[in-house]
Amino acid sequence: MTAPPTSPATPVWSQPLAPTVVAVRQRRVETADTFTLVLDPPRPGFAFQPGQFNILYTFGVGEVPISFSGDAEDASQIVHTIRAVGSVTHALARLEPGARLGVRGPYGTAWPMAELLGRDVLLITGGLGNAPLRPVALHILKHRQRYGQFTWLHGARSPSNLVFAAEYDEWQQRPDAEVLLTVDQAEPGWTGHVGLVTSLLQNVRIDPARTVALLCGPEIMMRFTQRELARRGVPEQQVYVSLERNMQCAVALCGHCQLGPSFVCLNGAVYRFDQIRAHLLTPEA
């Protein structure tokens, strides 16, 4: 039996609801609606685990939870990749280098990095679900010898919506990684896969006993992906998902993200699949 995911994160700083003001160092455009912000660390010794998130605060607009998308071993900066879909994220999209914003975190559970050691690691992501798993990939590719087969299957809406495309190009050249991409809607010039990310699974060799699968994307995508993994023999105790519910306070006080007996902001966002399966059909509050 595999170990449960990391225990709920306990904020260690003295005022967990008080944001720290930090500056934007760099802003990178990823796609038409997605961008990456590189920020100053909010305090000396700031650290996070892959899978955790920060609450970003744009003054006068509001807060939003955003996963870390950068290297967890690089304490010199923090990186968030964000899609502009609402008022806060559109405000974040307008921040230029030097602009200031509020940050509080890190919050939430993490991907089970210790459990991945020596195992085959299978990342399956859709849309911007690749951002919370990028820190896992960066770590594994940096310490490649510690892990078995490394495979990343990712689905995007279209080639022009593919975030981290340049990195994927680079990683696809590595002999020690298998990276397969697919799109829902092809565009002129695209010669790759077209179809759901689950369709890529049949192109991948899976040893069910050795494989740990980490899923991130729309919940429907993750449900169908888990079913396909089960069909391939991967126990649900070896499948982890990251949920995105209505997280607001991030410290399990407001209750907006309650899912059954669990608060996604505290007990998630990363769950082992068997621990959350019964609640995945619960509509968002």
Binding site: G126, T182, G195, L196, F224
Partner: protein, 150 residues
């Protein structure tokens, strides 16, 4: 190019059939190269073949009046192309165009239908396997309709 039972048995679609049937079907199978941009099927034309993809990738496409050729799905090794040969009036519903070079096993549709009609013992598992393929494609199509990543 003719093929061998071993080559047939290596394809997942045929793994579900009774063991002796790889040998039987080998008599009607042709191992064919897939050349980029070659069409295995054209919408509206007679569906005269059934393909098991061994390598390479094939795009299932539709012609859109404004958007031109629209790939709706790609299929690759271990997958099948075409079920129109099975369902009257036996005309292709989509185009199927080779995207990357590879190899496929091709069966002549009239011969294959005759085998299924004459041998219910193989027809049942074969149709079950085809149903599994169709159910997967239907689920994929339904999810595709949701535009999950919008």
């Amino acid at each position: 190019m003719t093929t061998t039972p071993a080559v047939l048995a290596s394809h997942p679609f045929l793994a579900a059939l009774p063991g002796t049937w790889a040998e039987h079907l080998a008599a009607g199978a042709t191992l064919m190269p897939l050349q980029p941009d070659a069409y295995l099927a054209r919408e509206g034309e007679a569906a005269e073949s059934f393909y098991l993809i061994r390598s390479g990738r094939v795009a299932i496409e539709l012609q859109h009046p404004l958007r031109g050729t629209v790939p709706v799905q790609t299929v690759g090794p271990g997958e099948v192309v075409g079920w129109s040969w099975l369902i009257p009036p036996h005309t292709w519903q989509f185009d199927a165009r080779v995207v990357t070079a590879g190899e496929a096993l091709a069966f002549e549709a009239v011969w294959l239908r005759a085998q299924l009609d004459a041998h219910p013992d193989v027809a049942v598992p074969a149709l079950k396997e085809m149903l599994h393929v169709l159910a997967g494609r239907l689920a994929a199509t339904r999810l595709h309709c949701l535009d999950l990543y919008r």
